[in-house]
Every structure is written in structure tokens, then in C-alpha cells.
């Protein structure tokens, strides 16, 4: 029975995250990064790691703070509000969750490197323009004690700069998940010029060697390890999207209170008041689904699929509404690159597609509700 209120520790985490992000990673920091043509700020990730963020899901025995998925969601949400760029989702959430589901000394060592900020990961699953892990076509052919990986991945978020790749490929009797260094021979990474100015890559695998040690979990059984990792990533991404919505909403309501037209503040116009109030309602409802998903991952991890899909579906649609309304209520200035609201719009669109779009997740919910 999950409780949908923040604990004292979580409330403190919110305050700490806001304090850091407002100072070190405001939207201006993202703008500067983009203007410099960069997609990642290694120094900032080190600072986040020093605060325990990289190890939020890493056991204390491996140097993490082990605060759970609801706490990871809080961090993702706060980062969404200021559009802070980091490999948090790929590394601290998805890879950490996958590695935690493998209990061996190598995984423990890998988790320690995540917590310290010394290793970053990217999840290489998508092969077409839509998320569908079960349709994976990339092949890992058995060769001796190992495998040869050949195929193409796309929309590998954080993939151009990550130290390691989690790669999903077909083996003789199922799917297998590999954890390999990104600079292994035969791997070609092509950075994508993304609308949200963040790291993503198309990656070609040409006869890439992988040993049995590179397999995460069991051969032909990727999902035991990967499913919880993807679900954790979807929940945290939903939290980030809720943060994106809240950030865009905050900017927009602020604008309604300062912009004058026809001799009065535009926030006095009922047409705009009602649009803003409706958006706030949607944000409130989505916040419930997002917190619920985090709690379920922490307390009832075997029954989370519907909760996670509910959160991702809601967060996707709410973020979309927030950025559309945001640009509309800002008027012409909202269309300019000099104004930040457009950044939220572009991030919301990328977040909508990553790890399953609205249709994918709404269908998951419907399936669990028997239709």
C-alpha cells in the first residue's frame, strides 16, 4: 500500500536539488552549453556524483546512497525544471538498475564506478524510429565462447559520449543484453544533431567481439535484467517530463503576471487564466501518477508495468500541453530562440519519444485494464 506523500528525506532532497540546480544548472547553463556546441558537461556530472545523485540507486556497499526510485524521480523532475543536462537517466537510473539485477562482483565494481561518476552508460535498444525492444533485429552470433555483434542502433541517448553501452541483440534462443565499452573495435558512433541539443547517436556494430563476461544476466534472457531497467528509466523520464511541464508552466505564469497589453496585465484576461488553470490541473494529476510509479518501483517492483506506463503516458501528454500553451501564451516572443520556452518544447518532444511514446504506454495501460 503505497503512500503518495513525500517523506522527510525526500523533501530535503527536493530542497537540496533546487538549491544546487538554481545555482549551478539554471536554464542559462543549458543555453551556454548549446551555444558552445556541447551536449554534455562532464564537470557538472562530477559535482552531481559528489552529492550522491549518480549513486541514488546504487547500494551503500558500492558507494551509493541507495535512496530508491521515488528519490530518483525527484532528482529527474528537478533537473527537468531547469533543463539540466546530465547522463542521469542513462547511467544512474537505467544502467544502475540493470546492474543491480545482476549480483556478481563485476556488477558491484561497475556500480561503484557509476556512483563515483567515473563511468557513464547509454542504452542501445532502438533500431527504428519507434521504441520496440521485442522487435530487435540486431544479431549476436555465437563464436567459440563469445559472440560477434552486427547491426545498427539509433536514438541511443547519451550514446555519442558514454563510456559504455548496454546493447540488446538477438541470440540463438532469445534476446541477450551486452555491457561493452563504447570504444571497442568495430563500433562506429555518429552523433545525431538533436532538436533538444543533447547527446544521442546512431551506432553501427560491425562484427564487434563480445565475450561471455560481457553478457549482463543470462544469455537468451535479457528481459530479466533489462525490463526493470527500462521501467525504472521510463518512470524517471516521466518525472523529468513532469519537471519540464512544471518549468514551462512556471515561466508562463510568470509572464502572465508581467506582460502588459491593451493597458493591462495579460494575466487579467479570463481566456488566458482558464488556459493556465487547466494546465495546472493537468500538472497536478500527472504528479500523482509520477510519484505513484516511483513508489511502486520501490515497494512492489514485480507489479509496476501499468503504474510506469500510466506515468509516462500522462507526463508525455502534460509536457506537450505545457509547452504548447507556453509558447502560445508568450506570443511572438515565445517563437524566438532568445527566449527559453522553446527549449522546453524541444526537450518535451524528445522525451515524448524516448522509451515509448504516448500510444505505446496508453496501450500498455489498456492491456493491463483488460482491453
Amino acid at each position: 500500500m503505497v503512500k503518495l506523500v513525500l517523506t522527510e528525506d525526500e523533501t530535503m532532497l527536493v530542497d537540496a536539488a533546487r538549491g544546487f540546480l538554481d545555482k549551478s544548472a539554471p536554464v542559462k547553463a543549458f543555453r551556454d552549453l548549446r551555444d558552445a556546441g556541447k551536449t554534455y558537461d562532464a564537470k557538472m556530472w562530477k559535482e552531481m556524483a559528489a552529492m550522491g545523485w549518480a549513486g541514488v540507486l546504487v547500494p551503500e556497499s558500492a558507494g551509493g546512497v541507495d535512496m530508491g526510485h521515488a528519490a530518483a524521480g525527484i532528482l529527474a523532475q528537478e533537473m527537468g525544471k531547469t533543463l539540466a543536462v546530465s547522463p542521469f537517466l542513462s547511467t544512474a537510473v537505467i544502467a544502475a538498475t540493470a546492474l543491480r539485477n545482476v549480483s556478481d562482483a563485476r556488477a558491484e565494481a561497475a556500480l561503484a564506478k557509476i556512483a563515483s561518476g567515473d563511468a557513464t552508460y547509454a542504452l542501445a535498444v532502438d533500431e527504428t524510429s519507434k521504441f520496440d525492444p521485442n522487435a530487435t533485429a540486431m544479431v549476436a552470433t555465437s563464436e567459440g565462447n563469445g559472440f560477434r555483434l552486427t547491426g545498427k542502433k539509433t536514438f541511443v541517448v547519451d550514446g555519442a559520449l558514454a563510456d559504455r553501452l548496454l546493447v540488446l541483440a538477438k541470440t540463438d534462443n532469445g534476446l541477450t543484453l551486452f555491457d561493452i565499452p563504447a570504444d571497442r573495435a568495430g563500433i562506429t558512433r555518429n552523433a545525431q544533431n538533436m532538436i533538444d541539443a543533447r547527446d544521442s547517436a546512431r551506432i553501427d556494430f560491425d562484427n564487434v567481439e563480445a565475450t561471455g563476461d560481457d553478457v549482463l544476466g543470462q544469455v537468451d534472457d535479457a528481459m530479466t535484467v533489462l525490463k526493470p531497467a527500462i521501467e525504472a528509466g521510463q518512470a524517471a523520464l516521466a518525472a523529468e517530463m513532469a519537471g519540464v511541464a512544471a518549468g514551462a508552466f512556471g515561466m508562463t505564469v510568470g509572464y502572465l503576471k508581467e506582460r502588459k497589453q491593451f493597458g493591462t496585465l495579460i494575466g487579467t484576461f479570463q481566456a488566458l487564466q482558464h488556459r493556465a488553470a487547466h494546465l495546472w490541473c493537468e500538472i497536478e494529476v500527472t504528479a500523482s501518477a509520477v510519484l505513484h510509479a516511483g513508489r511502486k518501483l520501490d515497494e512492489d517492483p514485480d507489479n509496476v508495468t501499468m503504474a510506469v506506463s500510466l506515468a509516462k503516458a500522462r507526463a508525455t501528454s502534460t509536457a506537450k500541453l505545457a509547452v504548447i500553451e507556453g509558447v502560445q501564451m508568450h506570443g511572438g516572443i515565445g517563437m524566438t530562440d532568445a527566449f527559453d520556452i522553446g527549449f522546453y518544447m524541444k526537450r518535451a518532444r524528445v522525451g515524448a519519444e524516448w522509451l515509448g511514446d504516448y500510444g505505446y504506454h496508453a496501450a500498455q495501460v489498456a492491456k493491463h485494464r483488460g482491453f
Binding site: 493556465a276 501518477a289 496508453a362
Partner: protein, 391 residues
């Protein structure tokens, strides 16, 4: 705080009791407005099962699970209430009793009433013996509720009440009415109103049903002509009735929102839609997509209701939650009924046809975004009080 073990014991006991005591006819199906058990002196039960279910549930305090035991409830805490809801949903049990007494007057009395008033008025509500209606709106005071004109003159030991109420839901079936009465005509709009309790059988009370687009007469006009209301039938202080009214409105709005699930409890929309399709027929793509969206929103609004209850228990609740729930819940419920009509096709076009009350229920929901404060009033409340937008 109870341990997990104690709560699981509570769940097991409750589950056994429900299995043994909730009649099969009171489980499952898409409940209609017409199948609600409202209680009251003159209520006609649709079946023995409905009567038995009410009696059994009331004997355990399950009609009002969170009310104190001495006032007819089961005294459940938040954790137990959650389990109660889960176990009721699990067997798709219908509510044994729903009423304005439970949703609106009860919470207001628990908050503002004296101990004597609680002992006198609450247990009959919990047992379904007395049915209440709400006298708020007047012909000249709709969305602008505080401009009520029905007056109560101070006559020493009683008020002499004269005036007219409108949209008094089920006034023709109710035993008592709680009403906003202007008891000080000189005070400012919000400061001269008292919250009075009036027996519908009193001399001078007359009610006239209004025929609605659904063919039913859910709403009435209620007239007060020289009605004598004894001085002890007031909730809260004289001329401070607006505080009670506002408090009650938040409960009314949450009730109307229904957690976004309308009358259906925890039932999935898709399952209900599938049942109403002709044999061998499947939902078309658009209906299916709309249903999925509706289901996603319903689940999230349901979680929001739970989140607000958890926040209230933790003392961290945000104000004005009820305006949001009312707006989102009713808009969703109306959408849901549009989908039910679409799934029913021409079968849903006949009064009392193959799908029974479906068209009447559909038309009834059109009042959802008007009653208890229109959607637009809710958005204006949020805009002003939550977002702090000017004027």
C-alpha cells in the same frame, strides 16, 4: 500507526466479511444512477439484496467507514480506508448507500456541529434512515452563490424563513434540507448568511420537481413560506454560514468528481465498453483510442484523489484541491458517458431500451460541469487562489 501485520489481519477479516455479506446482485455491472441506494424514509429499494446490503453494511459502520463509531461509522483510519476501498473494488461491490448526508452534511457537521447535533443527525444518515437535500442555489443566485436572498427573520426562539431555492437535487424525495438563509440583510454579502437545517415536512415547505432533458426530475424548486425553524437547527454560528457552505462545497466537489470514475467504482472503461458492443463487434480504432485516453486520465485522477487524502493525513495538503478534482473529474465523467453512448450505438438511443438507463445517465452527466460550481468557476478559483493571477 498499525503494523503491516495488523493491517493484513484487518484486510483478511474484512475480505471474509464482504464475501459472506455482500449479496451477489450487489457486485459487478455498470451501476446506473437508477440503481443507487439513497436511503430515506420513503426510499423504495430496487431489490431485497439492496436492502439487505444496506442493513448489513450499516450495522458495521461501512456506509461511512471513516466516521467515528459513536456517530454510526466504522472509525477507520486512512490506511484502513484504503484497504476497505481496495477490497470493495476487488469484488466490484456497489456502494451500500450514497447520499448528500454522507457526502456533504456529514463532513460539515463533523467539522462545525456540536456533539449533540452529531449524535442527533449523523447516525440516521449512516443507517440510511434520513435523506437530506441541499438548498443552496436560488433563481437569482447560481454561480454567484453568496447572493442568496431567501431570508430568515429572527423571532426569538425561531427564524421565520421565506424564499425560494432552485436546483435542489432530489428535494421531492428528501426528508430534510440544509439551506443557506440570509439572516442579516444589512451585513455584506458573505457575512449575513446562516446554515439552517429544515424538516421538509414542516408547514410552509413545498417542493416542485423540474423535468429535465433526461426525462427525469432530479432537480426541484423548493419554496419556503413562513417556515418556523427552531434556533437549535443551525450549524456553526449565526451569520457565519458561508464558512460552513464553503467547507461543504469542497466535499461536494470531491463527490461530484467521483475520483474521475463516475459511478463505475474501479471498473475499467474498456471492459464496460466491450460489454455494450453487439456480439462479434469490436471497438473501432477511434473509440478504442478515446477509451484508452479516458482510462489513462481516470486512473491518474483516481491516484490524485488518493494523493490528496494522503497529504491531508500528513497535514501537507494543498488548498483548493477540490476545485481541481471537481473540474477534472466531471469533465472526464462526461467524456466517459459520451464513449458509453458511442459504444451502445442505436441501442443506446431508446428510453429504457436494450441498454436501460444509459441515455438518461448520459444526459444526467451534462449537469456535472454545472452543479456544485461550473467548470469555469472552478478554473477561475484556481486561477485566482492557486496561480495568483490578477483580478
Amino acid at each position: 500507526m498499525q503494523s503491516e501485520q495488523e493491517l493484513e489481519g484487518f484486510r483478511a477479516e474484512l475480505r471474509d466479511w464482504l464475501e459472506a455479506n455482500c449479496p451477489a446482485e450487489m457486485r459487478g455491472g455498470e451501476p446506473s444512477e437508477a440503481s443507487i441506494c439513497w436511503g430515506g424514509k420513503n426510499f423504495e429499494f430496487e431489490s431485497d439484496a439492496q436492502r439487505v446490503w444496506l442493513e448489513r453494511a450499516a450495522s458495521k459502520g461501512y456506509t461511512v467507514p471513516t466516521w467515528p463509531v459513536e456517530y454510526g461509522g466504522a472509525g477507520m483510519n486512512r490506511a484502513q480506508e484504503k484497504i476497505f476501498k481496495e477490497e470493495m473494488d476487488r469484488i466490484e461491490a456497489r456502494n451500500p448507500l450514497q447520499s448528500f448526508g454522507i457526502w456533504m452534511l456529514g463532513p460539515a457537521l463533523l467539522h462545525f456541529g456540536t456533539h449533540e447535533q452529531k449524535l442527533h443527525y449523523l447516525p440516521p444518515i449512516a443507517r440510511g434512515e434520513v435523506r437530506w437535500c441541499q438548498g443552496y442555489s436560488e433563481p437569482g443566485a447560481g454561480s454567484d452563490l453568496a447572493s442568496v436572498q431567501t431570508k430568515g427573520e429572527d423571532k426569538g426562539d425561531h427564524w421565520l424563513v421565506n424564499g425560494q431555492k432552485i436546483w435542489t437535487s432530489y428535494a421531492d424525495k428528501a426528508d430534510w434540507i440544509f439551506a443557506l438563509i440570509r439572516t442579516d440583510r444589512d451585513a455584506s454579502k458573505h457575512n449575513g448568511i446562516s446554515f439552517l437545517l429544515i424538516d421538509m415536512e414542516d408547514d410552509g415547505v413545498e417542493t416542485r420537481p423540474i423535468k429535465l432533458i433526461s426525462g427525469a426530475s432530479v432537480f426541484c424548486e423548493t419554496f419556503f413560506t413562513n417556515v418556523k425553524v427552531p434556533k437549535d437547527r443551525i450549524v456553526g454560528e449565526e451569520n457565519r454560514g458561508w464558512d460552513v457552505a464553503k467547507y461543504l462545497l469542497t466535499h461536494e466537489r470531491e463527490m461530484i468528481s467521483g475520483g474521475g470514475q463516475g459511478l463505475s467504482g474501479g471498473r475499467a472503461l474498456g471492459a464496460v465498453l466491450n460489454e455494450s458492443l453487439a456480439e462479434g463487434q469490436e471497438m473501432d480504432t477511434v473509440l478504442r483510442a478515446d477509451a484508452m485516453r479516458c482510462e489513462v486520465d481516470a486512473l491518474a485522477i483516481g491516484l490524485t484523489l488518493e494523493r490528496y487524502k494522503d497529504q491531508a493525513e500528513a497535514g501537507t495538503g494543498a488548498g483548493n484541491a477540490s476545485a481541481m478534482l471537481k473540474y477534472m473529474g466531471t469533465e472526464l465523467n462526461m467524456q466517459r458517458h459520451e464513449l458509453l453512448m458511442a459504444a451502445g450505438g442505436s441501442d443506446a438511443l431508446e428510453w429504457d431500451g436494450p441498454l436501460g438507463n444509459r441515455p438518461a445517465d448520459w444526459l444526467r452527466t451534462k449537469a456535472n460541469s454545472i452543479e456544485g460550481g461550473t467548470s469555469e468557476v472552478m478554473l477561475s478559483i484556481i486561477s485566482r487562489r492557486v496561480l495568483g493571477l490578477p483580478g
